[in-house]
């Protein structure tokens, strides 16, 4: 019996779809190609701090399908950038909205998406004050891409940063995970979970304001676990802060329908995208107050503790499993690929 294995070639010359997945491939693209050219330093945050008070962030949205249970590309683009600003403790004050439109997009659809973006901005109390519109030829884009940019003003009483978690901090999540990613996958592939699963897309700036009101500077780190899921956010904070994060598997709120969809598709809920929940690292003294403040708002009503920061190996995320063992929680490599069986 021969025991053999080939030497494979890994694609290193072209951008793969997986480079956009929020996992390890994307980190490589950023650290190897993009940030060196920009001479960028410091931890990668959801939004940049300019001077002492101004917070600035931008994000592009390419989601397919453009309409999905729980939202559409317009409302998603508004919520996403508001949330990126909020994760730095900012009060969002204005947004821009830019479109790249493929020739042939029905005007009615563009109107509907714009109406949805406007409604989302109005509901969040953050005006859209400028924008841009470009049209490209048929086939040069997939229908519609949306970019939103936002500015905000930092609250003076807290400095949340991915690099600010310290041992002893308690790790909280604001609500159930995995809803957005499974809703999109279901709608895109016609998998039939769509009746049961809606995206959690929603603004989180009021929630963050309430948390900082209750916990002040004890709110050390905030992240909304979008692409790459909760596992990526926890790893980014563990890495940027140089700490070990330990969570308890059974305390992570995974809705039954998300667990079922992930089970069928062979996906890990910890790697699935969210658009309406956040993970927070809070000093133990303020945890009760922060949790109470979160639970008083609809977007935080099921806020819960999932773990703590320890003196373990820096940059490591460890999950304690239901049977009482432990494992390391890693980031996704590239795209999440549904399993065969």
């Amino acid at each position: 019996m021969d025991l053999v294995c080939p030497v494979p070639r890994v694609e290193t010359e072209r951008v793969l779809l997986g480079h956009g997945s929020g996992g390890q491939l994307m980190t490589e693209l950023l650290t190897d190609v993009i940030t060196p050219e920009l001479s960028a330093t410091g931890p990668l945050e959801d939004a940049a701090l300019i001077g002492l008070d101004q917070v600035f962030s931008t994000d592009s949205y390419v989601v397919t399908p453009r309409f999905f249970p729980g939202g559409d590309i317009g409302s998603l683009a508004v919520h996403g950038t508001i949330n990126d600003l909020a994760m730095r403790g900012a009060r969002p004050i204005a947004l821009s909205l830019a479109y790249i439109i493929e020739e042939g997009l029905p005007i009615s659809e563009l109107r509907e998406i714009t109406r949805s973006a406007a409604a989302a901005a109005r509901a969040a109390g953050v005006p859209i004050v400028t924008g841009d519109t470009k049209v490209v030829g048929r086939g040069a884009a997939d229908g519609l891409y949306v970019t939103t940019t936002g500015v905000g003003v930092r609250r003076r009483d807290a400095w949340p940063s991915a690099a600010a978690a310290v041992p002893g901090d308690i790790v909280l999540v604001s609500g159930p995970i995995g809803l957005h990613g499974t809703a999109i996958l279901s709608a895109r592939e016609g998998l039939g979970f769509s009746a049961e699963i809606s995206s959690d897309s929603r603004p989180l700036h009021e929630l963050v304001a309430a948390m900082i009101e209750a916990g002040g500077a004890d709110v050390h780190a905030l992240r909304d676990p979008t692409r790459g899921g909760l596992a990526s956010s926890l790893n980014e904070i563990a890495e940027a802060s140089g700490v070990c994060v330990e969570i308890v598997d059974t305390s992570v709120p995974v809705p039954r329908q998300v667990a079922a969809a992930c089970e069928l598709l062979g996906l890990d809920p910890m790697h699935v995208a969210n658009e309406g929940c956040l993970v927070a690292f809070v000093a133990p003294n303020s945890v009760d107050a922060v949790l109470e403040a979160m639970r008083a708002l609809p977007e935080g009503e099921s806020a819960t503790v999932i773990g703590e920061v320890t003196h373990g190996v820096a940059g490591r995320v460890i999950a304690h499993t239901m049977v009482g063992a432990s494992r390391i929680v890693d980031v996704l490599v590239g795209e999440q690929l549904p399993r065969i069986c």
């Binding site: 025991l3 053999v4 294995c5 793969l16 667990a259 062979g266 460890i318 049977v323 494992r327």
Partner: protein, 364 residues
């Protein structure tokens, strides 16, 4: 989902573990056949909590891992053709062939698409009459019925631009080959619940008898695995060698007759080479003569693609269960899920990837 939470109950899990500790009086070596079971065992750390001396060997039941390199190279050759839409289950796309993988080929312009069922591939063929649509039909007895149904559906509805690249494998011949190895350490098997949901377990009865090896048909949730291991240990302690069924909510002794009929109609048993293990007689399925017209290998003349594997990683030892991933010098260094040197590092069901994703071998 019903049947999910009930099988992830921490209290019941600890009770089963306590019972295992009370039952085991000697060291035993048990192989879980299926990659899905390996995934659960390693993710939950079940193997680390077993009584000292109870060792789990992670078997060859990951379809991604045992699909021969030659099939991957043939898939790459077919997918590179401009007239082809190549369709596959997701986790085959990152399996390294000699010259790259299907994801890389896609980035270079090939039309490679992930589907969730082979019937989607037939639908794509129906919608693209001017192009050839090929589905990569791999996997164990679990995926064979759906693939057979796709071929039957294409034949019945006259979708003649659809074809399949087939590399199906069968569990019982692999178990037999493992037991025939002179240095085999396996004393009991956890058979793959989903495979048995299709095939039943009658074909395992002669194996248990001939090799005097207990075989427990087992599910995939943490409590399934713990109970399956407990049932196997009880048999070993009692000196019994029977086929037992832990996965009673899904498996009957005779299996699923309709699924078996579809498989028998479309496929015939053939010799198959298992990646990392080598050729095993009568261990796979190929299209039967009646459906040979759907064979992508013949349609695209890639039958003569010959691939030579070079001996660099220990995937074979791992698939046979004689060594574990952390024994490999490349594990976690040259070989990671980002840069897999061997197929067991590609799928999350592969033993090496399951180990790596759980951080095995790293300092906690």
């Amino acid at each position: 989902m019903k049947y999910l939470d009930e099988y992830r109950d921490p209290v019941l899990a600890r009770r089963l573990l306590a019972e295992l500790h009370a039952t085991a009086t000697r060291p035993w070596t048990i192989m879980e056949v299926c990659g899905g079971q390996t995934h659960t065992i390693v993710r939950q750390g079940i193997d680390e909590l077993l009584p000292a001396g109870i060792r789990m060997i992670h078997g060859p039941g990951c379809p991604v891992c045992v699909t021969p390199l030659e099939i991957i190279d043939k898939a790459l050759a077919i997918a590179a053709r401009p007239d082809v839409i190549f369709t596959s289950y997701g986790d085959m796309l990152r399996v390294p062939g000699t010259s790259g993988d299907l994801l890389g080929l896609k980035a270079r312009g090939a039309d490679v698409r992930v589907v969730y069922t082979p019937l989607d591939a037939v639908r794509i063929a129906h919608e693209n009459p001017g192009r050839s649509v090929v589905f990569l039909a791999v996997g164990f007895e679990t995926t064979a019925p759906a693939n057979a149904m796709a071929v039957l559906h294409a034949a019945a509805s006259g979708v003649d631009n659809f074809s399949v690249l087939v590399s199906h494998v069968l569990v019982p011949p692999a178990i037999t080959a493992l037991m025939d190895e002179p240095d085999t350490q396996v004393q009991a098997f956890l058979a793959a619940g989903h495979v048995c949901a299709v095939m039943g377990w009658t074909e395992y009865e002669p194996i248990a008898l001939k090799y005097q090896v207990p075989i427990v048909v087992t599910g995939f949730e943490p409590l399934d695995l713990l109970e399956g291991i407990l049932m196997a240990v009880r048999q070993l302690e009692d000196g019994r060698a029977e086929v037992e069924n832990q996965y009673v909510r899904a498996v009957r002794r005779s299996g699923n007759a309709a699924a078996q009929d579809a498989v028998r109609t479309v496929f015939q048993v053939t010799d198959r080479t298992w990646r990392g293990i080598g050729p095993i007689p009568a261990s796979g399925l190929a299209l039967s003569a009646e459906f040979a017209g759907f064979d992508a290998e013949q349609r695209f003349s890639v039958g003569d693609v010959v691939t030579v594997e070079s001996p660099l990683c220990i995937a074979g030892d791992i698939l046979r269960g004689t060594r574990v991933p952390t024994d490999c010098a490349a594990y976690g260094r040259a070989c990671t899920p980002r840069t897999p040197l061997g197929a067991p590092m590609v799928s999350s069901e592969g033993t090496c990837a399951a180990f790596h994703n759980a951080g095995r071998g790293l300092e906690m």
